[in-house]
Each structure stands twice: as C-alpha cells, then as structure tokens.
C-alpha cells in the first residue's frame, strides 16, 4: 500500500528541462537474505523460560457467555477463576490466621461425626461435594445455589478472609485489567532491550551485544561478538545483576566511548564501555524513580548524558556529572486528552534541546529554559494527515543520518520530520504492520546512498526494512530541506518464529514448546552495516522475550536487472546453509539441556544407592585374595573333616586386622558401625538403637531449626523488600546448579540429585549420608519462591532433614553470594522496589 500523497511531485529545476521525480523512488539498494531463516547467536541459558500470560489465561470462556455476548466487541475477564486461583495458590495469604484457628473445627473425612465432636466441628466434605456439583452444572441457566453453600458463604464472608474480600477483589480486578491491557499492547518494551556496540576502529571486527538474560530478565550481559559469515560469540560475557526486569537497553557512542543506558521499571542505570578494546564495561550511576520509567535515551552528543521520562509525565535530563534536571512535569497529554501514561524523550540536533513525546505528539524543549523555549514538532492531526485514532508509538532522532531529522512511528504510518520545518512531515508512508512498531534502528548510509531504517513489532515479531534518502535534490542552500525520498519498496525480513520449519523434527509436545518459545514476542532489535569489505552486508539481531537472540544476514546485490520471475516467485522456502543447520542443532541441544524436564515417574523420590555407598565402597575386590583363598581352603577342609576352626590366624601370615580395631581406628562411621554390628550378629539391635536415636536427633534438629528460622524470618521480613531480589537470584543460581528446575508450578518437588553430575564426570565422593541440605533450601520463604505448595513444604523439609547431620549452619547473610551488584544499596533504601514477581501463566496475578 502507498499513502495517498506518496507521489507528490518535485520539480528538479524549473529553469532547465523539467524533470519530475517521485517521492517514492523505484530504485533502492537491493538487499537479499543470505540464509533461509534467522539463526541463533547465543545458546539458551539454563533455566526454563516462563511465558507471559496468554489471552485464554485471563479471559472468560464459557458457552453461555459466548452466546450472551455474541456480536458484542470487547473481552470479559475471568475474574472469578483468578480469585479462585489465588485462594488455591496462596491459602496462607488468603485465610492464614483463621485457617489455623479453625483448623480443628473443620472435618474433611467421609465418616459421620460422632456426638461429642459434632458440637464444635463441621464436616466439610458435603460442602465440597456441593461445590463440585455446582461446577458440573456451570453454564446451566437455571442453576440454583445449594442452600448449604449459601448458608456457609453468608456466615463467613465477612470474617473468613485474611484480606477483606472487597479490597482483595478490587486489587485483583485492577491487576487483571492491567494484565489485559498489557497483553493487548505492552508499551513498556518501547525502544527495545537490545543494543549493538559497533567494533572499535581497526583490527578484527568484534562488536558487543548488550542484552538482558536470566529467567527474570534481570541480568545484563555485554557479549563480544565476532562478525563473520555467521556471527559468533567470543569469550564469556561481562555480566551484571540488576534488581528488576530489564525493559530497555539504549546505547550511543560519544567520543569513541559507548554509553549504555538500561531501564527497568523503577531503576535506570548507565554503563560506560571505554574506547580501548577489551576494556570491561563499568557501571556509572543509577537512579531510582517512584513511578515506572517509560523511556531512557542516551545522548549522541555529550558523554554521560541521558534523558529519562516517567509515566507521570515528567522528563529529566540526566547527567552523570551533575545529576537530574527536571525539564517538564505535566500529567496531562500535550495536544488532546489521551489516557495513556506513556511518555518518551530523545535528543535533537542541539545538545541542549530535547524532544518530549506522548501519544498525541512531540514537542522540543530547551533544557536551559524548558518553560519558555519550546516548539511543537509533531502533532497527531490534520497537518500530518493522520487517521482517526492514530497515536504516536515511537519517536526517534535520526541524527546519524541527517542532523535535523526525526522519525515518528504510529500504529499506521511512519513519518520523517525535519526540526527546521516542524509539523509538516517530509516523508510519510503507511507501513501496514500488524502490530505497532515498537523498535526502530537506523543505519545511516554514506553520502549519496540511502539510509536504512528497520522497524520491528513486538507481538508479531515483524521486521521491516525501509530505505530513504534525506536530500536527493543536492542543493546546499537553495532552500530544499523538505526533500526526502523513500527508496525502493519496503522489505520484510525473517522473524524468529520463521526458523521453526528449518529445525529438526521434534516430538509433538516438544514441537509445541519450541513453537511457543520461538514465537515469544520480540523484545529488541539491533543491526549493523558492514560496508568496508568487498561484499557489503547487513546483520540484524532480534531479541525475544524468552531471552533468545537471533541474527540474520542480508547481502548487498549490485544494481542488476530485476530478478527473473522464476526466482521472484519462489514460494518454497530455501534450505538453510549447512553452517546454519549446525547452529540450529547446537541451539536445540542446548535448549533441551537448559530446560530439561525430569521424568514424572521419579516421584516418589527414589534414593540412589550411589548416595549411600561410594563407588569404592561398592567395588568388590577384583578376585579372591590369597588370604581368602587360603581361608576358604581351610574352611572346606574343616567341613570335610567335620572339625572346627579354632582360630583364623593364618600360620604364615600376619594376623588380619579385625573389624573391631577398624572401628576404633575409623571412629563413629555409621557404615562401619553397621557392618560391624552385622558382623557381630546383633544388627537388629543396632537398627533399633539407630532409629530411636535418629528420631530423637531429628526432633531436636527440627525444633532447633524452626527456632532459628523464626528468628531469621523476623529479621528477613524487614529487609526482604529490598534484598529479596538478590536472595531470589542467588537461589535461582543455586537452583540452576541443582539441575532440574524446581520453579515450574504444579510439579512435585523432586530433589533427586541423581541427575546433577553430568555424564562422564567423576563419581560423587561425598560420604554417606548425603551432605546436609543448604539452609536456604529449607527456609519456607525460599520454598515458596520455588513454587512449592505450602502443604508439601513440610513434607519436603522433613524429608530433607533426615539427611541433616548435626545442627545446620547459620544462614548466610543475604547478598554475600551476589556476584556483582550494580544498583548500589544506598539507592535501594530510598523506597524499596517491589521484589520482581514471577508471573505465572495462570495463577496468582
């Protein structure tokens, strides 16, 4: 499609022969995909990805409902189901204290209650049956509430709940609507969380990819990438752990140094990557905001300058040296009323003038006098020929292509604006993308060549390549700024999901999981142009919400006549190159390793005998020793003779060491004691003693631990709010060490350590019984984090405590395990950031 005024004519030179040039030039550079699909750049990291909720998770589905609302637009949120999920998933928070109080008064058995008990106990089984019946009749228009249920709910609605039901419902409803709106359009990702730091001058082309990772997407990685036919990583990345999910990564190069700004909801940080090659990135500063930040851009003009916007409509100029300067604060939108709290800001050709955007348009503010000096750059309205309902989605300064040009994308169109001629777009094009373009990346062309602009959408993973020329008129001061030309037709590029068909065939359920992972919404976009080599090429990186980074290469084709139709109309997908196919296999292997699901039948936990006996213990002697042979011979001889053996002492040999002496030497080794007892024949008695001892010891240990835990929790709850993310992380990394993921909900907690040593590693040499479980592993808080239901936590704790020998170690002070914490604690205490919540797809909003 073309926009209405696509072919506005421009008269090249009225004095001479008239020549008309279309606004949409037919000739652009030809770029062709080098491979059949995008190829992964990074291997998937350990730990399974938790997909964000899908529409079917929070929408109401019922035949009745569909019938009632047929034809009506909009969606109904399944509020009741979510409230039910909350009660089931968080019983402690929902009914904790009263549940404990009434614990004895509720009877869950099937038998009839006897007289004395009936006075203060009610039988819940009937109620549960009623509920089940109700569930079965759901959708029946004539359903009648069972009187018993009505009676019960009437009786306890007001006091049973820990949080008053009305309040809880309000909160849940608010959260649900927010979830739904972010499902429809999640603008927190605007700008994208992927940045490419181009190679430093000279030497091998090694750039740096800055991307988020980890299960909570709260780790920031600086990964060196060598640009070759297929780019590959070099060395291990510099890694930083942040206290929130990374929403945006922005970068700019000033004076040879890269400045990388990172935005999470309540924190923004800036890193510097020095000009020297191989120098480590260094965190410079962090700011904390009370309202979520919606934008962070890095100045292309001055080192260490950024602009920050918060959702309330405040824009700051942030300088690492001088701190924050508030430029504007206005909760209202600029040109007309719009409900969206999203705000954006970027730099302009003047280092002291910043742009400020909301959904209705763009303004430029002078930081030296922000109240007085400002002008409108773009308005959603007639001047730009906007459609009804059109809104600004992403503004971007195009300074690297032309110092005074600006890009504005809306859900329908792309506009290029010139600061010198504000309000009148110098280029407009209807992009026809299915989802609004949240990401854009500019690759400036050398003089005389077209600039390349990439647009990316999040939900649909769409990627479009546009080319434009900023001034093809070529007159320097003839007053020709408004000339801007779209070169060639826009081109669709591969998305991540497209590589699915090139991956080896999987089992159906694995295929489904893979599909889910590959079609996760895109979260960022970066690209680089390599122009110096003989074959010009373009590398495009795309990040998905699952943390995968895929890359595709486009090669430049010299202007040839249009390709023959046979090639042009190729509908069958070409096969990926062998190198790409190899990469796919490697990536798949790593993926299946990273999110390996332990088979279900391992529950209940089976104990490996390898735990009880080391291999050396189990290893029998290679053959009967000479002593044994001698003894056997003597035994046989004695039997034949019908006599008996007086003493075992061999005549010619040293007396063999007796088990007793061994025990004395070895000390109280349980295995040895047991064997000795068995040897002596009083094994049964030993077992009796052992069990009674261990029960007593276990009880003691448990009591001790509970006391300790209570103390620790008291301490913890105070600091939990600002250290939780940290402990959470350290626990996560612990978990990844253990191997099988304990995080996925609904899976029984399995702590079989069998799987942990990778095949081929030396056998575990820990003495039996297995080492005492980590204290952190047992704390109820950490168990809750792992998604282990409360009723199972005790079982697990008790089970684990069997292995505990002696009093457990006091808990580690939280934080000592954190690798590199970047957001300084001094910032954190200002107002505690909410701990990162893991959002499970169906439960616990």
């Amino acid at each position: 499609g073309r926009s209405g005024a696509a072919l506005t004519l421009l008269l090249r030179s009225p004095q001479v022969q008239p020549a008309f040039v279309p606004r949409r030039g037919a000739t652009g550079e030809r770029w062709e995909a080098a491979d059949a699909a995008a190829v992964p750049v990074l291997l998937p990291s350990a730990g399974s990805w938790i997909p964000s909720p899908a529409p079917q998770d929070i929408l109401y589905r019922s035949g009745l409902c569909r019938k009632l609302r047929a034809g009506k637009p909009g969606a109904t949120l399944d509020f009741a189901r979510q409230l039910g999920h909350f009660f089931v998933d968080h019983p402690e928070d929902a009914f904790g204290s009263l549940g404990r109080l009434l614990h004895k008064n509720f009877y869950l058995g099937n038998a009839k209650l006897k007289r004395p008990a009936r006075n203060n106990t009610i039988r819940m089984t009937a109620l549960v049956e009623d509920i089940d019946r109700l569930e079965a009749r759901r959708g029946c228009p004539r359903q009648q509430l069972a009187s018993r249920l009505r009676w019960f709910s009437h009786l306890c609605r007001d006091w049973l709940f820990e949080v008053p039901l009305g309040l809880l419902a309000d909160c849940l409803h608010e959260e649900l609507t927010q979830q739904w709106s972010s499902l429809l359009f999640d603008d927190s990702l605007t700008g994208g969380a992927l940045a490419w730091l181009p190679p430093k001058d000279g030497g091998t082309p090694v750039g740096c990819l800055v991307h988020p990772g980890g299960q909570a997407m709260n780790h920031l990685y600086f990964q060196d990438v060598v640009l070759k036919e297929l780019p590959h990583t070099r060395g291990s990345p510099a890694q930083f752990e942040l206290s929130g999910r990374i929403r945006q990564v922005a970068a700019a190069r000033v004076d040879g140094q890269d400045f990388v700004g990172v935005r999470s909801d309540y924190h923004c940080g800036v890193w510097r990557v020095p000009a020297k090659r191989g120098a480590a990135p260094a965190p410079l500063q962090v700011i904390h905001t009370d309202v979520p930040a919606s934008c962070l851009t890095v100045s292309p003009h001055l080192p260490g300058e950024l602009s920050v916007c918060t959702q309330s409509g405040t824009v700051y100029l942030w300088s690492v040296e001088t701190g924050l300067q508030q430029l504007r604060h206005d909760p209202q939108t600029m040109f007309f009323r719009d409900h969206s709290p999203w705000r954006w800001s970027d730099f302009t050709s003047h280092p002291r003038v910043l742009s400020f955007a909301d959904r209705t348009g763009l303004q430029c503010l002078d930081a030296r006098a922000p109240k007085k000096c400002h002008f409108d750059l773009f308005k959603v309205g007639e001047e730009s020929g906007c459609q009804q309902g059109e809104r600004v989605v992403l503004p971007m300064y195009l300074g690297r292509a032309h110092p005074s040009q600006y890009l504005v994308t809306t859900q329908f169109s792309v506009y290029v604006l010139d600061e010198r001629l504000p309000l009148v777009p110098v280029l407009k094009w209807a992009h026809m993308m299915k989802a609004p373009p949240l990401f854009a990346h500019l690759m400036p062309g050398k003089p005389g060549r077209s600039h390349k602009l990439l647009l990316g959408a999040s939900r649909t993973q769409e990627l479009l390549l546009l080319q434009y020329r900023d001034s093809f008129w070529g007159v320097s001061s003839g007053g020709s700024q408004s000339a801007c030309q779209l070169a060639g037709t826009p081109q669709r590029l591969h998305d991540i999901a497209g590589c699915l068909q090139h991956l080896p065939t999987q089992l159906p359920h694995r295929h489904h999981l893979l599909q889910q992972r590959l079609s996760a919404p895109a979260a960022g976009l970066a690209a680089t142009l390599q122009e110096d080599e003989p074959h010009k090429s373009m590398l495009i990186f795309q990040l998905s919400e699952a943390g995968d980074v895929f890359c595709q290469r486009l090669t430049h084709k010299a202007a040839e006549p249009p390709a023959p139709p046979s090639r042009d109309e190729a509908t069958t997908a070409p096969m990926p190159s062998p190198a790409a196919a190899l990469w796919y296999r490697r990536w798949l292997r790593a993926l299946s390793r990273a999110c390996k699901e332990p088979p279900r039948h391992t529950w209940p936990p089976s104990l490996s005998q390898r735990r009880l006996f080391t291999r050396r213990d189990l290893e029998g002697p290679a053959g009967p020793s000479s002593l044994q042979r001698q003894m056997r011979q003597r035994l046989r001889q004695a039997m034949r003779e019908g006599g008996r053996i007086q003493g075992w002492e061999p005549l010619a040999l040293q007396p063999s060491p007796l088990p007793q002496t061994l025990e004395l030497a070895g000390g109280p080794d349980p295995l040895s004691t047991r064997l000795t007892a068995a040897w002596a024949g009083d094994w049964e008695q030993w077992w009796e003693e052992r069990t009674s001892f261990s029960v007593a010891q276990r009880q003691r240990a448990l009591r001790e631990r509970r006391r300790r835990q209570k103390r620790a929790q008291g301490r913890r709850s105070l600091s939990a709010s600002f250290t939780s993310s940290l402990t959470y992380q350290s626990e996560l990394s612990e978990l990844s060490d253990v191997g099988p993921s304990l995080l996925s909900p609904g899976r029984p907690p399995i702590l079989s350590q069998e799987g942990s040593p990778p095949a081929g590693s030396p056998p575990v040499r820990s003495p039996p019984p297995s080492p005492a479980p980590d204290e952190a592993l047992l704390s109820s808080q950490s168990l809750r984090y792992r998604g282990i239901p409360k009723e199972r936590r005790k079982t697990l704790r008790d089970y684990l405590s069997v292995w505990a020998e002696g009093p457990p170690e006091p808990p580690e002070p939280p934080g000592s395990q954190a690798s590199q914490l970047c957001f300084p604690s001094s910032q954190r205490h200002l107002s505690p950031a909410p701990p990162p919540r893991r959002k499970r797809p169906r439960m616990g909003f």
Binding site: G1, R2, G4, L7, T8, L9, L10, L11, P14, Q15, P18, F20, V21, P22, A26, G71, D255, G256, A275, P300, H301, L302, P303, T322, S349, H350, P351, R352, R368, E383, Q387, Q388, G399, P403, S404, R420, L421, P422, L423, V424, M432, K434, L464, S476, S477, G478, G479, S480, Q481, S482, T489, P490, Q491, R492, P562, P565, D568, E569, T571
Partner: protein, 412 residues
C-alpha cells in the same frame, strides 16, 4: 445464518489482504496480483466502515503492483487507472492526480496535461471541501505544466533572440502559457501550506515580466503569513529575491535575522555572519557573534571549518582590540558547561587533527581563547602543530599565550 456468513466473508477478506501484503513485502508481484484478483470480490459486499475501504485498497495495491511488476506496461497502467476512477466517485480527483504523477514520472507530459484538463472539467454533484482542495491541486499542477511550456518557449526565444530572429507566434504562445500558468499558480499559493515549487515558478514568471512588486508581495505573504507553516524556505526565497533586486544591506539583514530566529542552524548563517561582521554598527557585529555561536551549537555544524573560521576570526578581532570581551563572555556563559565536552574534548582534538588540519587550527584558536592555554584541545593541537613544524600553529601558540588575560576575563 447470514450473520455468520458475513463474518466469514469478512474473515476471508482479511486473510486475502494479509496474503497480498505478505507477497508485496517479499516483492512477489505476480503472486500479489493473483491474490488481488480474488480480493476484487470483496467489492460485492462492501459493508465496511473502515477508514480505508476495499475499493481504495484495490486502487492502492494495484498501483503498487503495476508500478513494480516486470511485465506491466504503461498501457495497462492507464487502463487500470481509468477503471479505478469509475470505482469511487469520491476518490475520482485523487486517482486522477496520482495518475498524472505517474505519467509525469514516466515523461509523458502531454498525456498528463490532457488528464489534468479532463479532471478539471469533471463535475459531480455538490463539491465538498476536500474536493475543492483537490481541484485546486489539479489546477495548480496544470499551471505548473503551463509554466514548463512557457519556460521551454522562453528558452527558444532567448536562443533565437541572440540570432536576431524573433518569432512572433512563439512569443504569442509563450505569453498564452504565462497567463494560464499565472492564474492557477496564484490560486494555490493562497491556501496555507508548503508550496515551494509553485511559489518559485510563480515568482519566476512575475520577475520575467517585471512585476517585482507582485513578486515581492507574494514572497512576503508566503514568508510572513502566520497561517502558513513556519517554512524556512520561504525566507530563503525572499532573501534571494531581495539579493537579486539589489536591495539594501539593511533589508537583507532583516530577512536573514528572521531566518536566524526560526532556524539558527541554517546554511545561510555563514553569509549572515560575514555580512554582520563587516558592519560598522556595534549592534550588528554583536549579532554576528551571537549568530555564529548559535550555529555552532548544532551537531550538524560540528565539523564545519568555514563556521569555525568565522568564529575564530571574530574572536581574534575582539581579543586583539580588547574591546567587547564581555560579548564573548556573555555568549560563553550559557555554553561553558557543555561546549568543552561537545567541541573541545581530547578525542575530538585527535580526530580533527587527523582529518582536517585547518579545522583543528580554527577550533584550537577558539579553544585557546575560551578555555585558556591549558585546555586539552588547544594543548594537543598546538603540540602536534609545533611537532609538525607548521608555522601557523606556532603563531597560534604564541597568540594564545600572549592573550591569556583575555581568557581570564572571559572565564572570570
């Protein structure tokens, strides 16, 4: 039920559209064309109330395909366009205009002119405001083509005029073109908007026939009417016109002053500064300093050697005369917190030295005066210059050291 059928039809329509889009974005023009022929069926039941209806879709997509399809010909394109014109009455003029553009880009000026004339005579019911505007555009483009013909005749006449041969018929024809062009061009530039090409052509016509007053009025209106967008080109045209007319320095300066206020980063600011520096009036010279400082604020001017030499010249003048150091001081005050990092970093000193010695000379001078002889930029540049035994740089070093007091005054 019929309702369901409608829904399904709508769904398949959408699916078809997405296939077309898919094909277009992959440059599979033939496939797109095949899908488009299916999509034509959607015209059958066009109940849509969307912003862009199916008929408009077909027009836009069809144009796009024919524009790129390797086997399409101009004849086919014209045929398609004629069909599209009859498809929607409301869009008739728009389609006509687009058709004309296409013809023009293919060099078929005469056909384009015919189409414009046809469109102009088209009437349908009562004209809406939009149609009115589109009609004006059609007339304007016809005016533009008339102007082109006029310009051609004029060139013939001028060539033959040198030979002493004057063709009365050609001259008559030329004047006819002038009249037709002038009427239409005059109309379009009355409507608020950006009409650079039309204004330029109209002024050219007027100037040729010596109607300078009218030309001046048109340009002034175009530049100063507040209903028009703030268009820097309008001021440039006015300035160029005044210059051609040999107007006084004063009026030239006032024209450029307004351009400076709108777009401080305009290319003409160098001319403006040179003009002001030469002025005898203190106020003007002061303005000149302001203008060049303001221009150098912009990223696009960072490496403009000409601009830096303008600033260096003026700063040098002021320092030598030791008068008006306060001017520099005042300009510097609002910039001293960011210019050092923006212009005078060590990195830039190195790069400027490597890429453009004369730029680094001019910048070095300014840096030396504004930031003193210890500033990184000046130190690097003068050191390199002296090492390379360039006389200019040795002089520069001497000059800055001698006038270190000026730095103290500016920064103090």
């Amino acid at each position: 039920s019929s309702n369901e059928h409608k829904l399904n039809f709508k769904k398949s329509k959408e699916a078809c559209l997405s296939y077309i889009q898919d094909a277009l974005l992959q440059k599979q023009w033939k496939r797109a064309a095949e899908f488009l022929t299916c999509y034509v069926e959607s015209l059958e039941k066009d109940y849509s109330r969307e912003h862009i209806g199916p008929s408009e879709m077909i027009w836009r997509i069809g144009t796009e395909i024919l524009w790129h399809h390797s086997q399409s010909s101009m004849k086919e394109f014209n045929c398609f366009m004629e069909q599209m014109k009859t498809l929607g009455v409301k869009r008739y003029l728009k389609v006509c205009l687009e058709h004309v553009f296409h013809l023009l880009c293919n060099g078929q000026i005469d056909e384009a002119y015919q189409n414009l004339s046809l469109a102009e005579s088209w009437r349908f019911g009562e004209q809406t405001a939009i149609q009115d505007k589109e009609m004006k555009l059609i007339q304007a483009y016809r005016g533009l083509l008339d102007y082109c013909s006029w310009s051609k005749q004029k060139n013939i006449l001028l060539e033959h005029g040198e030979d002493g041969f004057a063709d009365l018929a050609v001259e008559q024809e030329m004047h006819g073109f002038f009249r037709k062009a002038a009427v239409n061009l005059k109309e379009i530039i009355k409507i608020p908007g950006v009409w650079d090409v039309f204004v330029k052509c109209y002024v050219d016509l007027l100037e040729f026939y010596g109607d300078h007053n009218e030309a001046c009025q048109v340009l002034n209106e175009y530049a100063y009417n507040s209903k028009f967008p703030a268009n820097p080109n309008a001021h440039v045209y006015l300035y160029q016109f005044l210059k051609r007319q040999g107007e006084s320095k004063k009026s030239l300066i006032s024209a450029l002053k307004i351009l400076h206020d709108i777009v401080p980063s305009h290319e003409l600011m160098i001319d403006f500064n040179t003009m002001l520096q030469k002025s005898k009036k203190r106020k003007k010279r002061r303005l000149g300093l302001e203008v060049i400082f303001a221009a150098l604020d912009y990223a696009g001017w960072k490496e403009n050697a000409k601009a830096w030499s303008c600033l260096a010249r003026q700063v040098k003048q002021i320092v030598i005369s030791e008068k008006h150091l306060d001017w520099i001081k005042q300009e510097w005050n609002s910039r001293k917190d960011w210019w050092p990092a923006f212009h005078f970093s060590r990195y830039l000193a190195k790069r400027n030295w490597q890429e453009n010695k004369s730029l680094s000379y001019e910048k070095g001078l300014v840096a030396g005066i504004l930031l003193g002889k210890d500033c990184k930029y000046f130190k690097y540049v003068s050191h390199q210059g002296c090492k390379a035994q360039l006389k200019r740089f040795r002089m520069l070093k001497k000059f800055v050291t001698r006038h270190n007091s000026a730095y103290l005054k500016i920064s103090g």
